[in-house]
Each structure stands twice: as structure tokens, then as C-alpha cells.
């Protein structure tokens, strides 16, 4: 049972007069009043199976599937409610891809326990035939929401969205790819139809939140972090959509220390994160959930909790 000091503290939080502190949340996790969902992610690994050599100028000894596997296992042991995603460009960048067409990359991602991935432009490098030929080595789904593959051989080979359930919390995931025209040789993507990222993202965010009852909505994106012109990017997507909690990105090989907090079209918080390339870093974003009623607790829409993006 709560002692009086704690009770008073909770009451203040309930009245919106005090923030959730790290201390309070840790207590609530222990007592089962709160749950933590950990999101791990990579992007643009580009067939980097081995770590960079120790003599490498910029990234000596960094990366490598073996090291990534160990780190992922460590995080899974810390929190069983962990999901692992990749944001595309799994292929191309080392001779492993040139020799084996992506087979080893997908076998290893399956072993590491990836829950889903979206397709990047380089995942088309051996054509849709080449992708399909090695896809059987992936035991996880590819989530692509704005590539319409219905007139291609990838018809029914990808999912428009996927809902995960971790200890009762529903996590909805959808995927937004980059415009292929002008970036990928047309013969490689054929009759793939590109759908508007913002509209598609809004549609799936609404669907996942309201029809599927998801408490957390995540977009796996390969649009790129941001551009100097107004080309669609993760930052633009974040600003012009609503209902998304987290946009995991790729394509621009942007190294971020931690997720960035932005405001969506309704003024609510949305996080954007990306971890460079080549498997040098592993991204991590934790969401703490409590069973407290938002309405009764008078938590504002942007919540009174800490956003400790540290």
C-alpha cells in the first residue's frame, strides 16, 4: 500500500499539480502500476555484417551484427516489452550483398529478432525479383503503407500495417517509403505506385489508433530526416500529421544522439529518431505507460510527465 507521502505525491500528480518524476515512475514500474515499452531500431545498415576494421578512420571496431546481437539481448533482458525495427536500406554497401543478394542480412535480422522492417530505395537494387528471391529468409514482416505493389510481383508480400501486443499495450506500426522515381531505376520498381506520404500516414495513424485501439503508433520511415528545400521528410511528416507517437527514420544517414521532440499538426508531441548507418548505433526510445485515466487525472494533452530525452 502507498504510504501517506507517496499518496500525497500521487494526488498532486493526479490533479496535474506535480510532474511524474523518474523516481515516481520507477516505483510505479516496480509495483506494476506502470509499464515500459522499449523500441529499438536501426536504419541504413547497408549489408554491414562485420564491424568496421580496427584501423578504420572514422568508425574503428564499430558496428557488426555480432555486437548488435549482444546489445539487443542486453536490452531485452532489461525489459521484456521490447520491439525491434529497421527502417530500410538493409541491402547494398558490402560485397555480402553483391555475392549473396541480401540472403545473409535477412537471416541475421531474423536471428536478432527483428519485429518488422520497412523497405528503403536500396532494397530494390536487385529489382523486385531479387527482393522476393531472398525474402523467404526473413521471419519478420515488411511493412510498406505507401507503396502500392498490387500490380507487381510483390503483391501481398508486404503488410500495410501491423499491430503488436506487449503486456496488454497495443502498438501499431506502419511504413512510409521514399519516392522511387528519379532515385531508383524504373526497371527495378516497375508498376509500383507511390502514394502521398502525409495522407497515407494520417490514414494509418487514424486507423491504428481508433479502429485497432492502439495506445502507441509508430511510423517506420525511409523519407530522410530533413532537407533544405520543402521535400517531404520525417520532420515535415511529423509536423503535418497527427496520431503518431514516434517516427523512426532512415535514408539521410543522420546520426542523432537521441530522439527529437517535435509538435504535430494538433500541437501534440511526436518523436523523430534516426541512427546514422551501417549498424554503428542502435536506437532506443522508451515509452512509460500507466493505467491512470488521462481525463480524470487532468493530464494535459501534452502530459505533465517528464519527457526525459537524455
Amino acid at each position: 500500500m502507498l504510504n501517506r507521502r507517496k499518496f500525497l505525491q500521487r494526488s498532486l500528480i493526479a490533479a496535474g499539480m506535480a510532474p511524474f518524476t523518474q523516481e515516481v515512475v520507477q516505483e510505479m514500474l516496480k509495483s506494476g502500476e506502470a509499464l515500459k515499452i522499449s523500441i529499438l531500431h536501426t536504419n541504413d545498415v547497408h549489408s554491414h555484417i562485420d564491424p568496421f576494421p580496427d584501423t578504420h578512420k572514422r568508425y574503428p571496431g564499430k558496428g557488426g551484427v555480432q555486437n548488435r546481437y549482444t546489445l539487443i539481448q542486453k536490452f531485452r533482458e532489461e525489459n521484456k516489452n521490447t520491439l525491434l525495427f529497421d527502417c530500410g536500406d538493409i541491402f547494398q554497401g558490402t560485397p555480402y550483398f553483391n555475392l549473396y543478394g541480401g540472403e545473409l542480412e535477412l537471416k541475421l535480422m531474423s536471428k536478432m529478432g527483428y519485429d518488422a522492417a520497412t523497405m528503403g530505395n536500396h532494397d530494390f537494387d536487385n529489382g523486385m525479383e531479387g527482393f522476393l528471391a531472398v525474402k523467404k529468409h526473413a521471419n519478420f514482416p515488411f511493412v510498406c503503407s505507401n507503396y502500392d505493389f498490387s500490380e507487381t510481383i510483390l503483391r501481398n508480400q508486404t503488410l500495410p500495417f501491423k499491430v503488436f501486443n506487449k503486456s496488454g499495450i497495443k502498438i501499431g506500426v506502419f511504413g512510409i517509403g521514399i519516392e522511387l522515381e528519379g532515385l531508383v531505376d524504373k526497371k527495378l520498381y516497375g508498376k509500383t505506385v507511390y502514394k502521398n506520404p502525409i495522407q497515407t500516414a494520417n490514414d494509418y495513424a487514424t486507423k491504428l489508433r481508433h479502429e485497432q485501439g492502439c495506445e502507441l503508433v509508430i511510423c517506420l520511415s525511409h523519407l530522410g530526416y530533413k532537407y533544405e528545400n520543402n521535400k517531404i521528410s520525417d520532420v515535415e511528416l511529423a509536423k503535418h500529421t497527427s496520431g503518431i507517437d514516434l517516427i523512426l527514420g532512415g535514408h539521410t544517414h543522420t546520426f542523432m544522439e537521441k530522439a527529437e521532440v517535435l509538435r504535430n499538426s494538433k500541437g501534440k508531441e511526436v518523436l523523430v529518431n534516426q541512427v546514422g548507418w551501417a549498424g554503428i548505433n542502435l536506437g532506443k526510445v522508451d515509452f512509460y505507460f500507466s493505467k491512470l485515466s488521462k481525463k480524470r487525472l487532468n493530464l494535459s494533452e501534452t502530459n505533465k510527465g517528464f519527457v526525459e530525452i537524455n
Partner: protein, 258 residues
């Protein structure tokens, strides 16, 4: 103390009665992937057969680079090296296959995926630099599209650019840029004239890759029956046979007006 019991219970009820989950807090920290223990045997076993076969062919040292060569803007040593070798080797094939000569080479920095390090060069390193299966082609462009090509180049070229900025071109071209506009273009020392130009590039770019839309209305496209990567491999191996090292310089082929 007893009088506090009822409101206490009421609060607890309000706090925990509702079952819908809400996010109260968020945390984020990206983590470096570094050498760690333990090594997972199963992962090693999955990789081993692939790695063994690959290393056999890729670890061969095929040449030596005098210094590190990198992409850059307005020009980079790596782009200069590759464009120059493509002009020579491409034109050899063009003469043999079509009895013709191309005017210059245009490639893209985004296609070169890593730098050429100083020292020993393995076959695998060339695969890392040029992992794509791109083929060399000759695109014949009208003078109008050729002008657009140089406008594209000038627009994408910045003084001290990042890896993907700048557009690599062969050394028989000189472009002077002012305010993102080409103010002087010389091909083999002569200003552009009202004739078609023959440009060696890759099939990827010829199909409009990297937004090179000027390639999309060509007079004709001819294949050179040569992959870009094979051209680089051939050049490095050939230099080694001659006892030479790989090298390239910045020669102001693309420059900003003073």
C-alpha cells in the same frame, strides 16, 4: 487518522479504476554498437560459410593508393579519379564497339559509397566504393539538354559541400560557377557550341537517377558493355601491373568565380 481513510480510498479508485493506458513519460538514448562479450555462437555459425567464401575473393590486395581519395564539392579526388578513368576506358570501348568518341564523363557522388583509403587496396574496397551493378553508357544529348546538365551541376555544387553534394566530371571539362549558375563551360578547351554532346555516364543516371532529368530526353543511348565497378577494378589492377600507385588531384575543373 481514521477520517483520512475514505478520501484516500476514493483517490485510489480514481487512480486505478480506468484501464486505458496512457503515455506518461518518454526517454531516449541511442547506443553505440561496440565490441562486446559474449560472442553468440549461433550468429557466428550463420555468418561463417558466407564470410569464408567472400574473404577468399575480396581480401586480395589489387593495388596501392598514394593517399586517401574522397568525394567532395566543387570537386573531389575520388570523383576526379573515377571520371577520368571512365573517359579513357569508356572511350576505348566506344571506339571498339561503335567507332565513336564521347565528349566527357558525368557521374554522381551519391554513387560512391565510401572513400579510397591511403595504402593497400583490396578488391573488396572497390566493391565498397562502387557496390552497384551500374553499366556505363553513352548518352547523346541535344545542346539544350547539355546546357541543362551544366545548370544542374552548377546548382548542386557548393563551395565546401558534404559527401553527396557536388557532381563529378572528367578533367577535359572546365566549369566556372557564380551564384549557382555556370558562367563558363569549356569542353576540351572549347566553349559549348550548337551541336549534340556525347556523355559517358551510368545506366542509373541515364534513366534519370539523382534527378538528372536532362538525361530523360536523349537523342540516343548506347551501351559500353562495361560495369562501372569493373572499370575501376581494371584501372587499379592495370596501374599495379605498371608498378604505379593510384592517385588523383584536385585541378579546379569545377570552380567558383573569384
Amino acid at each position: 487518522m481514521k477520517e483520512f481513510r475514505y478520501p484516500y480510498l476514493l483517490f485510489v479508485l480514481i487512480l486505478f479504476a480506468c484501464k486505458s493506458y496512457v503515455v506518461t513519460n518518454k526517454q531516449s538514448q541511442n547506443n553505440p554498437v561496440v565490441q562486446t562479450e559474449p560472442i553468440n555462437k549461433e550468429v557466428t555459425e550463420i555468418i561463417a560459410p558466407y564470410k569464408e567464401e567472400l574473404e577468399k575473393s575480396m581480401n586480395d590486395v589489387i593495388g596501392v593508393s598514394e593517399r586517401e581519395l574522397t568525394t567532395g564539392s566543387p570537386e573531389g579526388t575520388l570523383g576526379n579519379l573515377i571520371c577520368d578513368l571512365c573517359l579513357r576506358l569508356g572511350n576505348d570501348n566506344y571506339a571498339a564497339l561503335h567507332n565513336d568518341t564521347a565528349d566527357f564523363v558525368l557521374l554522381n557522388n551519391g554513387g560512391f559509397r565510401t572513400e579510397m583509403p591511403s595504402g593497400e587496396i583490396t578488391r573488396g574496397k572497390i566493391f565498397e566504393i562502387m557496390p552497384f551493378e551500374n553499366e556505363l553508357v553513352v548518352v547523346t544529348l541535344s545542346i539544350e539538354q547539355t546546357v541543362k546538365l551544366f545548370e544542374y551541376l552548377a546548382n548542386k555544387t557548393v563551395k565546401n559541400g558534404t559527401r553527396k553534394q557536388g557532381v563529378p566530371i572528367s578533367g577535359n571539362v572546365m566549369v566556372e560557377i557564380l551564384d549557382k549558375t555556370p558562367i563558363e563551360v569549356l569542353v576540351n578547351g572549347i566553349r559549348l557550341r550548337g551541336r549534340p554532346y556525347k556523355v559517358i555516364t551510368t545506366d542509373y543516371l541515364a534513366n534519370g537517377g539523382d534527378n538528372m532529368s536532362f538525361f530523360l530526353s536523349p537523342i540516343k543511348v548506347e551501351k559500353l558493355e562495361m560495369k562501372l565497378r569493373d572499370a575501376i577494378l581494371w584501372e587499379v589492377e592495370n596501374l599495379t601491373k605498371q608498378g604505379k600507385k593510384v592517385t588523383a588531384n584536385l585541378d579546379k575543373r569545377i570552380r567558383y568565380a573569384q
